[in-house]
Each structure stands twice: as structure tokens, then as C-alpha cells.
Amino acid sequence: SQKAELQAQVHKLADVCWEQCIDRPRDKLDSKTETCVSNCVERFIDTSLTIATRFQKLLQGAAANM
């Protein structure tokens, strides 16, 4: 289902951004860490979109050469 896929994506992102932004857990998520997590999610999505778009172009280029 689509809901399960969204959940899986949030789990994956939480995992990646946890590893990148949280070194040692503290009393609260300070603003620097919040910014890091928030940018991590945004840049990860940008990366995925960049890759999906480029992949699409490669496929079209390959199809044009057939």
C-alpha cells in the first residue's frame, strides 16, 4: 500500500539522518541538530529526484539510439 511505502521511506530517512546528525544523544534536539535533520531530509529528496530524472534521460537516450 502507499501508506506502508511512505512509512518505510520515513524509517529509512530517520535512519540516514540520525546517523548523519546525531552524534551523542542530548537532553533535547537543539536547533543546530534540528536544522541538520531538516536539511538532511530535503537534500536526500533532492538527491533522489536528481537521480530519478537523470536515469529517465539515460533511458530515453538509450531508446533514441536503438
Binding site: H11, I22, P25, K28
Partner: protein, 55 residues
């Protein structure tokens, strides 16, 4: 929530239990509680930013 509990257990075990002893000592227990709270904060923040971006 099963998946979240499993991921938190693994992440927080790895962060907090550097050398496993015969019990969870006090500082390990505090570390686990704090780690869990921060993991849930992170999860909620990720979920919020991701949802906003999807709209």
C-alpha cells in the same frame, strides 16, 4: 510501531552499550531513555518535513 521500536532498540543499543556487562547500569539506562526520546524527535521531524515536501 513495531518497526520503530525495533529500529530504536538497535540504534540505541549501539549508541549506549559500548561494552555489555552483567546488567544495564545507571548511565546506560539514562542513555537509552535519552536516545529513545531523541530518536522519536528525529522520526517526528523527518515525518513532518517529508510530508510538507510531498505536498
Amino acid at each position: 510501531a513495531q518497526e520503530l521500536l525495533q529500529r530504536m532498540s538497535e540504534k540505541c543499543y549501539k549508541k549506549c552499550i559500548v561494552k555489555p556487562g552483567t546488567t544495564l547500569d545507571n548511565s546506560e539506562q539514562k542513555c537509552i531513555a535519552m536516545c529513545m526520546d531523541r530518536y522519536m524527535d528525529t522520526w517526528n521531524l523527518v515525518s513532518r518535513v517529508y510530508s510538507q515536501r510531498l505536498q
